[in-house]
Structure formats: C-alpha cells, structure tokens
Symmetry: C2
Amino acid sequence: MGERTKFVLDENEIPEQWYNIQADLPEPLAASLNPVTKKPLTPQDLAPLFPMELIKQEVSTERWIDIPDEVREIYKLWRPTTLFRAQRLEKALDTPAKIFYKYEGSSPPGSHKPNTAVAQAYYNKKEGIKRITTETGAGQWGSALAFAGACFGLEVKVYMVAVSYKQKPYRRIMMETWGARCVPSPSKDTRVGRDVLAKDPECPGSLGLAISEAVEDAVSREDTHYSLGSVLNHVLLHQTVIGLETKKLMEKADVYPDIIVGCVGGGSNFAGLFLPFVKDKIDGTKPDLRIISVESAAAPKMTKGPFVYDYGDTAKLTPIIKMYTLGHDFIPAPIHAGGLRYHGMSPIVSHLYNLGYIEAKATNQVATFEAGVTFARAEGIISAPETNHCIRVAIDEALKCRESGESKTILIGHSGHGLVDMAAYEKYLSGQLEDYEYPEEKIKESLGKLPEI
Amino acid sequence: MGERTKFVLDENEIPEQWYNIQADLPEPLAASLNPVTKKPLTPQDLAPLFPMELIKQEVSTERWIDIPDEVREIYKLWRPTTLFRAQRLEKALDTPAKIFYKYEGSSPPGSHKPNTAVAQAYYNKKEGIKRITTETGAGQWGSALAFAGACFGLEVKVYMVAVSYKQKPYRRIMMETWGARCVPSPSKDTRVGRDVLAKDPECPGSLGLAISEAVEDAVSREDTHYSLGSVLNHVLLHQTVIGLETKKLMEKADVYPDIIVGCVGGGSNFAGLFLPFVKDKIDGTKPDLRIISVESAAAPKMTKGPFVYDYGDTAKLTPIIKMYTLGHDFIPAPIHAGGLRYHGMSPIVSHLYNLGYIEAKATNQVATFEAGVTFARAEGIISAPETNHCIRVAIDEALKCRESGESKTILIGHSGHGLVDMAAYEKYLSGQLEDYEYPEEKIKESLGKLPEI
C-alpha cells in the first residue's frame, strides 16, 4: 500500500477547548451596534435572544474556551473527523501538488453545522431554555439545529424560506424526523409573517424575512431563544474544532499547508478551519501561508462589496455589524449553493480580509460543479454545492502546480456531502445549469441603503 | 466523560483477508444448478458473466482469502467503520441492555454495498474487462457499483427498475455523477426489454426483468461482465470485513454479543456481520449466541417460504439455487425498504438457518419506521428503511431486558443512512405509511412454479 491517504485521531483527541482568535488579532474587531440606538451593543441587548454563556463568548478575548463534556460527548458521534490525502485526485490532475481535505460530511446531518448547533443547544438547555427558533434557507442549518435539539431534548422551530420549503422537501423531513417543527416562511405564526401574507399570499420568502420571524417568535416567549448558524463570533469559535484537529493531523502527516481554501457563505466553516492556522501568519511564523476564501459569483460580497457597517437582515432587527456586504436587501440569484447566498460576511473573516491575512475569490456555479464531478469520480465523495466552490479553486491551484512543477500542499475545507442536493447535479449533468453574476449596478443601488452611522 | 460510546480501528487494521465460512460449515452447501441442463454448475457456465477469480471464490473452501492491496486502498476511504455504543438509545428505552451498532453508512454511497462492489470492479478490471452491467431496484446497489467503477475506470451500465427510475431520481443522479449510465428497465437496449415494451410500453419493470436485461447485455459483449450485489457466496465473502472489524472492536470493548440482529434482502450485509461470529457457535465456543435475521413481512421468505431449489430471477436466466424462497415470480408490495424485496435468500444464510444456527423474524414497515425515528432522535443517525427493520427487533429485545432486568449485549448491523430515503419518513410522519403482509395463498400459488429437479 502506498503513501497514507487517511489521517485520523482517537476520540480522546477531540479538542478540549475552542480557539478564540480574538486573543490574537493584531487589531480588535470593530464594535457591533444596536440596530435602534446605533450605540455599541451591550450584553443586555442580546439577552432576549441568546444564553449568557454565548453572549460572553461573543466578546471574549480569552484565547482558549473550554468545550463542555456534554458537547464533546455528542461530538463523538462523528468527531474527530478524517483528514484525507486526495491522491487519486492528484493523479487524475497529473499534478505534483499534494491535496488534502478535512471532511465534515460524516456528521448525521452531513455538514459542519452541528459543531455549533450542538454547543448552542447545550448552553440554552443549561440556562433553562425549553425551545429554540431559527431560520433556514436550503435547510442545512435547520436540520443541524433539529439534530442538536434532539440530542438535548429541546423543542426546535424552524422558519424555512417558503420557496425552499416547497422545492427541497428532504431537509424539512430530516428536521421533522429529529422532532423539530418546520414551517414555510412567511408563516401565519408571527405578526411579520401575517403582514407579508396579507399583502402577498404567494410570497416566496427570503432569509431576511425568515430571520425576522424567528427573532419575533423568540423574543415573544420567555422559554424561547434564537439561534444563528454562522456570522457571529461564537459560531466561528465553535467551528475551530475543525482547524484544531486538522493542525494536529497535518503534524502527524508531517506537512504544513501552503494554501488553505474554503467556501464562504457567512464564513463559519472556513473560519473554523483556517483560524488556528492564521495565527501562525499573524505571529510571523508562516508568512507565506495563503488562505483563500471562495464565494459565489452570484453573491460576491468579499470580491465586490465594501467593508462597512450594515444590518444582518432585511428587516433591520439584528445588530449592525462591520463587514463586507452587498447590502441588507440583496436578493441572491437561485444558485444551488444555498449556503453561499448570504449578503454579508462574518466580522472576523471580514476583519482578517481587510487586514490582508486572507484572499478572496469568486467562482461561477457551472465551473464548481465541473470540479465537483471530477472530485467525485476521483475521490468517491459527492460534495455539497457549496463545497464544490473551494474544490474548484483547489483544482485550479493544483493545475498551476502542474505548469510550474511546484509541489505545493493544498488544504481543502470540505464542509459536507451533497447527497441531499442531487437535483443540482442533475441540472449540471444535463447541461441545464446556469451561471449568475451579480451586476455591479445592483450592488451600487443596494449599498445606497446602508445604515447611517 | 462517561463510558466509551465509540470504538475505532486504525487504517492498518482493515482486515487483510476475507473470512470464508465455507471452510467451517458443518455440512457443505448444496450445489447450484445450471438453469438449462439442471446439472451442477461448472466454472465454464459462469465464465461469460464473472471474472475467474470471483468464480473461484464462489466455490472456494479456503478459510481466508487475501484482500488485494488495491481494494484495501479504496476501502480506506471509509473503512475501518465505527462501532458505536448506543448509550442515548439505551437511556431513552430505560433498558439495562447494552446496545451496539456497526455503522456502514459512512461509505460514499452511504451503505455496505461498496464492500463488494469495489472488490468486484477490481477483479473485472484485472482480467481486462472494460465494462460491467448490473440491475438495481431502489438504487443502493447501482450507486455502489457506479462508485466502484469510477475508482477503477470501468464503464458501468445500470438497468434500474422503471418505476424506481421515475420515483427515485436521486440514486440515479448519484450513479451518473460517478460516470455510470443508468437506464429504466425495461429498456430498448436489449432484446428482452424491447419484447416487453412492444407488449406494454408503460411496463413498470421488476428486478427479475432488470436482471435479465443486464445479463443479456453482458453475455452479448466480449468486453463486458455482469455483477450482482447480494446472494452469491463471493458477495457475502467480501462483506465479512464488517464482521471481522466488529469482532476486533468488541474485543477492545471487552464484550461479546448475546444477540446479533441484521436486516436481510439477499442476506449479504447481515452475513458480512455475523459470519465471523457464527463460527464460534458452530465450533461450540458460544452455544448461546442468538443471531436474528430480520426480513420484511411483505417479503417473508425465511419465515414463510420453504427451503427448496429455485431460480434467482423471473426470466430463469440465473443458476438454480437451494434457498428459502417465495417463488421466482414473486411480486413484492411497494414497501420503502427496496433492498428487502427480493424473493429468495442467499444459499449460505439459507443453509445456516436450515441448520438452526440463526433465527428469522419478519416485521411490518410502520413499526420499523417508528423504531427508526426513536433511533434518530436518540442516536442522531437517520437510518435506511432496510436498517430500521433490525433496529425494530433490537429495540424489542432491549425492552424485554427492561422487563427481565437482564443486561444483554445486543449488536445491530447498521447497513446505511437514510438521507436519500426521506420521502418514506415523510409518509410515516404524516401517518400515510401502510403495512403489507404477503398473503399465504399467494405464496402457495407462486411456489407451484418451482423448477422440477
């Protein structure tokens, strides 16, 4: 048998602490602002929505934060996850590059999302909360929170964007199988939902609207909190288990990445991978490390948006945060990578990009599926449409190595499998998949509505 | 952290040999017969269909058969698989029983099927074959062979039962993503398919018919062989990696099962688990070990059929084998556990059942989904409809332990996840799922058509 293609850790090597990049940032993050007063956000502002432990994590500058035993116990269901060397892909590309991927698709819902869903469910349960609300687009996040709710006996209510609710029943049924309630948004269950339905009974919904419904529901009940699947600092914190495991595994493999690539929607899966590595770039140990975030050309906040203060949702209910954004009323094209359609970017990823520690690329969806099919035929794993974005860029970098003869080490953040997204593959395979580029003039228009600070 | 809930092996502990039960059977298997001459089958009879190495394995009485390095290399993508202790399920059931499950859902197609698909593709490739044909019902097997074909650069053509082809597009798209061609059966690509379509252009197809098409295709081309996903001795042989790993892992966990349960269609996944254990019962080391096969009440060959010679397919093209059968023109009810609809049972499982080494139970589908939902909410994993059958029986045995106070060790053969079967869960959750029991009178009628030997 040839070189090792698989690197694993023992279950007692699941990290015992999350890594908090806020301890090592060269400059602190800009403060987030209250959406009404526009003054710096206080813990009290967030208390109706989140348990106090998560509010503390959001602003903590402690470098290491303990992972509760109860959370590690659930993590064991699929963690530590495997680091693969993609040797068959390397051969298929005839490249001297070494390609690795850390695979998060082995979790029960099939993605990295449970890394934070389980932690959030745990802290809510611990603080006496009985019920959590959230929104979901294509359903990856909603299904992860439904799974986490089942682990801790919490009621979960998911507001799913109506058009996805109808088009993508599988993720909804997954949520229901885990015992969650999932309704199409706009729904009759909230004031904001009823108002919209009164004007337009056929309204297809949007993520912004679904957030508004979930938040309204949460603040209207004492026993209920709200949960968010990306963007916030505590979400990225929980995802660092990915990078901490990867770092340990790459040490075992006796390699260090030259290039790290990951797809970005709100930024949490990719940040979870690169944050423990970017530390080495910040402290000067690895000045040449390249960290490339890959977004959809249909939602090009990093490559085409400005770094400004904006709302996290359409209805202006969430805090105002400093980020790369396309404007809070941005309406994405119907790309299959539902997880990459968000208008903004997490403050931490935005900040590090602004400081020059990471790069950003945008790719179009046809090219990403081409890469995904190449990957599936070589490595066996059918990847989520989101993941195909960074596989595309990894393949491009590996092909550059074929030209140059360099043997670079490329690390892919593989966020999940695509078995619930086969309809998108069918469109690609039958030549019906379209590309979408968000027009520059629309960005300008949308950015005219930024909050005045 | 509490007791261990997860037991894993290192990649160098993937078995180096398959275990061949034919070396340890108390009585040899009955000979299979040529379907035309009705004389004992010769290697020459099988040569148009299978590579010589597999034909040798089919009749070998060597106890250990080496697993080629190239096959182990692919196995590494998901093997060794994890043995879980289902502690949260035990708590949910309030049982003193210890429940373990060996999880095969982590393979790229999501089931145990690639254990043999990869081996079969390898031997065909090695003997110069360029193309493999097969049939598939719901698509688990077809997708596994498509994956294996991609691993070795073989063309794969899958004849998929037409009604499933239309109703279950996801598995077909998986096959196409891995580069296989998948057509609805009956198809225009074979004589037998064209004949059927001429009489009935809307024919929904059947597994028997799809086998006939795949066999006709294979024998008509020099560069093509045929591949079967269950029933045959060499298929069960390849699946013993499951049981060999489990045995090693249970030793590490310092337990030995009192009860092993697995679902059975053709019998390969369950045999793969129990064959390395049944050895201990045959040699008298573990006389009290209970091994329970769980079939669907809609296809009750073990619990209601006789142990007789019958054809493997409707069209009488396959060898005549001695097995528990409902008759080769048995037409199953449309249960969601597509993998359990076969009319017969592998000769090895049939033989061991006839000799009294294993037990058989049949369960109805509503009760199996109830068990599957309990399992999903406790353990996180949404199981395939087939797997839910043995989870039902495991839960029943665990509940008996609650009554009796016994702390039995129950081992479940978990054959795969159900993420591509969510439509079935929706039917269960919405109360629309029906039970089907195959009527006794139909069995009698169908058994009237057994071959005369």
